[in-house]
Symmetry: C2
Subunit: 201 residues, 2 copies
Amino acid sequence: MEKSEATTIEIGETSRERKGKAPLLGAAENARAAGYKRGVAVFDLILRVSSVAAALAATITMGTAEQTLPFFTQFFQFQASYDDLPTFTFFVIAMSIATGYLVLSLPVSVVCIARPLVRGPRLLLILCDTLTLTLTTSAAAASAAIVYLAHNGNSDANWLAICQQFTDFCQRISGAVVASFIAVALIIFLVVLSALALRKH
Amino acid sequence: MEKSEATTIEIGETSRERKGKAPLLGAAENARAAGYKRGVAVFDLILRVSSVAAALAATITMGTAEQTLPFFTQFFQFQASYDDLPTFTFFVIAMSIATGYLVLSLPVSVVCIARPLVRGPRLLLILCDTLTLTLTTSAAAASAAIVYLAHNGNSDANWLAICQQFTDFCQRISGAVVASFIAVALIIFLVVLSALALRKH
């Protein structure tokens, strides 16, 4: 109801305003709110495109991370790839979902630029962004814990660092984790921006 | 400005309404919006108290997790505690901060019940809740990755499962991770609720 009302006011602004059918806000205040919200929506779109880039980079970097060591025994060849560790498999799946969602949300963000006073799309974005934030953060944090272990090992649990052997692989997965944390920071800004846009009339 | 205006309208509702000093919203619509927002705020307070309980339980369970095995050699006693693993230390610190924030946010939530039309506190809550959500999720996910490793080990990286020896310790840390994920779910609901409360007038 809220949504359709706002749409009506915005579309029929010029004709209805004179007939006194939009008494909630004055025309000037309405235009100012629309300008503010449109500015926020443009910034939202820019951030969203950047976060798509970061999430995609994280997915691809992790998904293509593998290394085969140049020596092998009769029975065994030393090889590391992301799917040796379940956490990294989760990382690739979660970041793929996040990338997909962020790409799909681009048209909704464009709708928010075209119709800045409509609140439905904005509310949809903030809800889905919050869920994506959780998904991305969990993937990034879980992988960061494992990457830390791969670099440093843990003497108490008797887990040895594997990065002395698999240097290229470790650089790859570290890069993917850094990219995913950049995506997390951008999505936090997206949620904050949506909250700011919802606040004003 | 937005905030002070809303306060004035709410406090002086009965006297000013008759003089036509609150032209933005009709009295009935205003009262309905206040009722809706007050309901949301009460639900917010209940969720917040639950999330304090969950976060506190997670912190204490992890912080007190230690186990000494009943056998030892001449040089070595087998002992596990949460600060053997940096991830669990991060977990305890992050969950303590989250618990502290959630306790401090309770008065703000009470203000939102008393003054449902004021938007300042609500916006403050949604911003801080989003940051707390990220902190809690990263602690929960990183610890979950390590707990999985402690239970199952990883043959590719040659990391052995330590839960065969330290059963009590592993039950403790698994419980803490479950409690932290419950806290994460509750904080997601808090953010969603705040967004819903911001949407309506």
